[in-house]
């Protein structure tokens, strides 16, 4: 992700990282449309104003996404009715490309079934490429708490996959 510091074209950078950034936005939002809105706002802010800042650009862009997602959530009360309708996206739209391997397909489906707290740690670690310390900073929790949520999430995923592959 160091390329963000250089003069690289945003399209090339977004083509490389856009999918995982959108997944990060998606797991913090209630619908596909909200995820697009959040990622658009966050990425434009990051690219225009933050990519030259010192530090890990990966953490910067994740922070920008979280900020936009929280802003959207605060505005959520005013459009609760709409959210209720589109909230069904959570069940019908897959977050990942289709997988031929049934175990991977079960894993992809199981991720949505984790609690919000566990899922955000998993997504930030695997697709955000953040350490437990960086995850702790993002979520305002201690690194130990982040690591603990990760362990519980792994345990839950293992059970969910086992149950699904035996169905």
């Amino acid at each position: 992700m160091q390329d963000a510091h250089s003069g690289q074209d945003w399209r090339a950078w977004f083509a490389e990282h856009g999918a995982r950034l959108r997944l990060i936005a998606r797991q913090w939002t209630r619908s596909e449309a909200d995820a697009d809105d959040v990622l658009q706002e966050a990425f434009v802010r990051f690219w225009k104003h933050q990519r030259h800042l010192p530090g890990n650009p990966n953490a910067l862009v994740v922070t920008s996404i979280r900020r936009s997602a929280l802003d959207l959530l605060r505005r959520g009360d005013r459009r609760a009715a709409r959210e209720k309708v589109v909230g069904d996206d959570m069940e019908t739209v897959t977050w990942f490309e289709p997988e031929a391997d049934p175990r991977l397909a079960a894993l992809a489906d199981s991720l949505k079934l984790l609690s919000d707290e566990q899922r955000e740690v998993v997504v930030l670690k695997v697709w955000g490429d953040l350490t437990f310390e960086e995850i702790g900073e993002q979520l305002s929790i201690s690194p130990n708490t982040a690591a603990s949520r990760w362990r519980y999430a792994m345990e839950a995923l293992r059970k969910l996959i086992t149950a699904r592959t035996h169905d």
Partner: protein, 139 residues
């Protein structure tokens, strides 16, 4: 013996998140490819013109107040600014080695006053043609 958590982490990492839609990329392009300085130029000029129009009206009203009683008392009824026509030209290299893009912006200002007593109108039509250089950032 393998770490089961590590296996799941590796399996998770092999999942491929869905790519952003072309529509989202197009929305990003609209924001990131648009020359910000172009908008800035237009906004700055619009603000300047508005200020000039306000000053003109203030001066007109003030001067009108000390004129002959029978003179027409014009009231400002409309100020219009046409949509700017912006032309971008090929970048040029400046003496100091930096690059700049020449930009030409043309628009028209129309200001109209009316005197209800005499039913007369005063219309000021002014075409504008500005040429400027926008500094280009090179990396």
């Amino acid at each position: 013996m393998t770490d089961p958590d590590h296996d799941i982490e590796q399996a998770l990492a092999s999942l491929r998140p869905r790519a952003p839609s072309p529509a989202l990329t197009a929305r990003l392009a609209a924001e990131l490819d648009a020359p910000a300085s172009r908008r800035g130029v237009i906004i700055a000029w619009s603000a300047g013109l508005s200020a000039a129009a306000a000053a003109l009206v203030a001066a007109f009203v003030f001067l009108g107040g000390v004129g002959e009683p029978e003179a027409p008392a014009y009231q400002l009824v409309r100020v219009e600014q046409s949509r700017p026509d912006v032309q971008f030209f090929r970048p040029v290299q400046m003496d100091d080695g930096s690059f700049a893009r020449p930009v030409r912006v043309r628009w028209q200002d129309t200001t109209r006053w009316e005197d209800a007593r005499s039913n007369t109108r005063l219309i000021n039509y002014r075409p504008n043609d500005q040429f400027t250089l926008l500094p280009l950032e090179t990396n």
